[in-house]
Symmetry: C2
Subunit: 618 residues, 2 copies
């Protein structure tokens, strides 16, 4: 039997594909989670993958229908239809992934010329003698100056503590890692110089191990933020710490330990020591940023919601307990304000906002949603409290995007098709599943545009005095529970999405624009990457722009962190943009309430003059 090797990127999973086996079947057999709502029938368009190399079967009719000529030309295929006829390299984009621990680590890969903060120099020294008793450090600094015209003034204390025996062992030859005017590490020549970029989210943490000399990403890993036990969202976590000031250090240590584990895992994957990491960049929302640094957070949660530290911070990794090269720094780009962190600034950086043509909105959806409006004139940013519904919170059978969560859902007549993460028996419903469910119920006429469940539908029933829709029957065989969507769940979603839509609208209005003038909406982050755009427009979460106006950029915050790691120019560009950006507080806007009420409605509509203007369904 013939077989081919398939390389699934960015997961890095490889395996044999059997003759006539589709990419989807091969992936599932190998444990590579690719979405497939229709079960491989070629109708749901959720298993899109991109072929980088290798030959496959000709596109099927389903594919010709689902993909444009341009997309086919670019290598896009439906995994359920395409059958390899050679070894292949395949990219599974975030929106097609359905992995067990679904943490979005991938995003737009922007390439920049490497120009890192830490640069390695090859140094040869003359050994000392009785007629040349210069100190070891002075010898090193002089060599850097003579051989590279580098007027370094400082050497990290840990380098000082190890240099003398090492340089003798290495026979007076070494590699010196220089940052600004400081030697932060020495190692034998030649040594690899690595960097670690981290997107530190409230729920998840994504880490990227990068070769600083080439800018190449060597390994990526996502993990959970362990602080989650102390509050699922930012506000509850802040409140926890404010009430127990001595726990600030506990929460800090938790995340530091996790970062150390992340660094160790990434390095062991590549087969290097963590001390090869000579620079680290961490982006995050302001609360996570503050908790990592051990800064006070009380004032973040009290009006006027002010960050303790809003500047760029360079701190020795050891001062935070982070175990990488002993002299390395952690760089934390500036946060924008109490509710707009450096993660959002990183999204903007990764998205090349200074090259944006036309009017673009950048969205980072979470319990707190950051929104920026960018055009040639500049950047205006706001944030809104969109609550936990998009992460499955405050939803009766809601859950995080983890194994067993319903993430996609379609209603065709009486049939409810759904897909769970990891294709496990359904345990609950996550954010993207709730959006799908409400959109499908609305399109099926089971919910009206005010969000009310029409109680004459056979699956709508009353529990107590609340209506609910039965999404999944209890099945004794699989042992999974009944899963419902309640009237209250729908209200939660409406509040969440109204907050975001209102934010977009007010940001436009404040700058003198309307929704129809929008050229592009860029959606970053984990939830935004798995979100069905069509459903999002259907429920009025997003304005009814043509779908090709939307871009889901995955973990753009992580990508931004990586850019700031690889390139000092990018770091400065991001910093300048942060300081230049204008922050607008929405809660005080007189139109806020009016628009919030309008945008609570479901359906496709524009907001004009603080009123919604409904479009036909479809």
């Amino acid at each position: 039997m013939k077989s081919y090797t398939i390389d699934f990127q960015p997961l890095g999973q490889r395996g044999e594909c059997r003759e006539k086996e589709s990419l989807l079947d091969c992936a599932h057999r190998l444990g590579v989670g690719i979405s497939s709502i229709c079960g491989g029938r070629g109708t749901c368009n959720t298993c899109r993958v991109k072929v980088i190399s290798g030959t496959l079967s000709e596109p099927t009719d389903s594919e010709l229908e689902a993909l444009s000529a341009q997309e086919l030309g670019d290598g896009w295929r439906l995994a359920c239809q395409a059958i390899p006829s050679s070894d292949c390299q395949i990219i599974v984009p975030p929106e097609s992934m359905s992995t067990s621990q679904r943490i979005c680590v991938e995003g737009l890969e922007a390439t920049v010329p490497p120009e890192p903060a830490v640069i390695a120099y090859h140094i040869r020294l003359t050994a000392p003698s009785l007629s040349d008793q210069q100190a070891d450090t002075n010898r090193l600094l002089e060599a850097l100056n003579e051989q590279y015209q580098l007027p370094c003034r400082h050497i990290d204390i840990n380098v000082l503590r190890s240099l003398s025996p090492q340089i003798r062992d290495w026979n007076w030859e070494c590699q010196a890692a220089v940052r600004d005017d400081e030697v932060i590490a020495v190692s034998p020549w030649p040594s690899q110089q690595l960097g670690l970029a981290v997107d530190l989210g409230t729920t998840t943490i994504a880490g990227y191990l990068v070769d600083l000399s080439s800018g190449q990403t060597l390994a990526v890993e996502g993990t959970m933020n362990p602080q989650i036990d102390y509050g699922e969202d930012i506000i509850s976590r802040i409140n926890y710490v404010v009430k127990r000031p001595n726990k600030r250090a506990v929460l800090q240590k938790l995340v530091v330990d996790k970062l150390n584990g992340l660094a160790a895992n990434l390095c062991s994957e590549v087969g290097v020591d963590v001390e090869a990491i000579v620079e680290m960049v961490v982006v995050g929302n302001t609360a996570m940023h503050h908790l990592l640094l051990g800064l006070p957070v009380k004032q973040l949660a009290l009006t006027p919601f002010v960050a303790a530290a809003g500047m760029a911070i360079d701190i020795k990794a050891r001062e935070l307990g982070i175990k990488i090269a002993p002299g390395a720094y952690v760089h934390l780009p500036p946060v924008v304000t109490g509710f707009v962190g450096s993660d959002h600034a990183a999204v903007l950086l990764a998205s090349n906002t200074h090259q944006v043509e036309g009017l673009t909105v950048f969205l980072d959806i979470g319990t707190n949603t950051e929104i920026s409006l960018v055009n040639g004139q500049g950047i205006t940013t706001t944030s809104c409290a969109s609550g936990p519904a998009f992460e499955g919170g405050h939803i009766k059978h809601g859950m995080r995007a983890a194994r067993g969560a319903i993430e996609r859902l379609r209603i065709t007549g009486d049939v409810i098709d759904f897909q769970t993460i990891d294709e496990a028996p359904p345990l609950g419903i996550c954010g993207s599943g709730v959006v799908d469910a409400v959109a499908q119920l609305y399109l099926s006429g089971i919910i009206d545009d005010g969000g009310r469940l029409i109680d004459k539908h056979p699956r709508v029933r009353m529990t107590g005095n609340q209506a609910e829709f039965l999404l999944v029957d209890q099945t004794k065989q699989d042992g999974h529970p009944e899963i419902v969507l309640t009237q209250k769940d729908i209200r939660e979603l409406q509040l969440a999405k109204a907050a975001i839509r209102t934010g977009i609208q007010l940001l436009l209005e404040t700058n003198g624009f309307t929704e129809e003038q929008l050229g592009q909406v860029v959606i970053a982050g984990s939830f935004g990457s798995y979100l069905d755009l069509s459903s999002a427009v259907t429920i009025g979460l997003l304005p009814p722009l043509p779908l090709n106006c939307f871009r889901q950029v995955g973990n753009a915050a992580g990508m931004g962190a990586k850019l700031a790691l690889i390139s000092l120019a990018k770091r400065e560009e991001g910093q300048a943009a942060t300081f230049r950006s204008r922050y607008i507080e929405l809660a005080t806007d007189p139109d806020f309430k009016k628009i919030f009420i309008e945008t609570g409605h479901l359906g496709r509509y524009w907001i004009k003059n603080n009123r919604r203007e409904m479009l036909e369904n479809g």
Copy 2:
């Protein structure tokens, strides 16, 4: 009965002086140790003190004989003769001190305009509001820039960790301590800004608490270096660490704990918290410098005797475990070479070497003696291993300069007069006592100029096959032991003093000078301060210059540290001088042996053409 209050400085001891009580009697009653070899008879001239304020009895005949008109005019008196007739403030100079723990903390007090590394600024901020959500840090940095044109870029992490609650408590007003472009501390306005200068010696540690805005010394304290348990001299301490590398941290912690205790004592004396200390300067010999920083010391003890770090080092105090202001730095001026530390550089700084006219030698006598030759052309430095004899080491009844040590000795005919530290029963003899003893024995003809004990003297006896001179008989009444000076002790002293005299001579020779051309010899350090200059010349330790060519400057290293603390200009001047100074290794000099043999001889002589040219005694 009438009484007056006497304030003894720099010890800071105060007490009542009874009617007709001499300053000496008063001092001794109050426990203030003032030297007095003749027992208050006005003949030994060792109890010189300086009157700052108050009236006293007219000078006695003894005083008129012992002190020049100029000295009397300057306020100098003999404490045993002068009787207060009002409240007085008295300075007891180091050479007249005889305290129980005799650590030399005082020295030449040079005054410079205060220009410290850390400067305090009074800041008023506008409170944030919903229309001004700037981060607390950015608000502070902007205020520094707007109010003082200070473009600060960094804020210490500990300031970041406390600023937000504090600035609210202080109603948006504070004092910001700025160092370079970093805010290292904030405090309520106004707060005192203190600095701590430390001379970290192998045996003793001297600390000076300074008000940074005025440059005034508020308190001084001397203490023992606790590392002494791990080796009395540098080489044995280095060897200890080299053989047990894991003890490097132990030795470091010992000295850090001691420095923390020193800081705490000094601050409690002045009634402030240690966090008021915002800058610290530490000078020391290269080994003490390295052990404090935790640097490797092995290469210091192996040819070619190279320092691990020879540059100026600025390190956060907390990185060394030093507890002062949490964001404060410790500045360590550069060391010259493996055997010439920043303490010697500080001596040169305190002595204003750039203003030196004529040819001057600077001496820092210890187990290792540093010697610099300074003239208009520059600084040439060397060091020599002078061994432990000057600290009482390798001497049969030798001891450190502590309670009960014979520190002064005179032989008049058959009478041996001596003085012990603290006037306690004699327990042994310290370095200055050994020098006195050898000089007196030589002058009495009991030792010849080769150092041999003439065995016909009644107090010379043989023990085993070694001659020894009985200095102090056993006295059952006082319970003190017999104290002798052996032939071997004399040889030890000869080796020690020959090393120093050879160093001076070779330094002169290398630069094309002779001893007779010397304009001045400046002697720094503890031993050098208590040394009887006349005895030192008598035994050929020093060249036979007129006594007014010698200056005993006390703890000039501590003074230099203080200058570097108070004034950035001085700090840079010292650093520049260190980098400019030329180090000469003497051991490799072809004339070394010849001169060393000549300078082993006792007596007053010049060295000319590698031979000694004896002068008459007296």
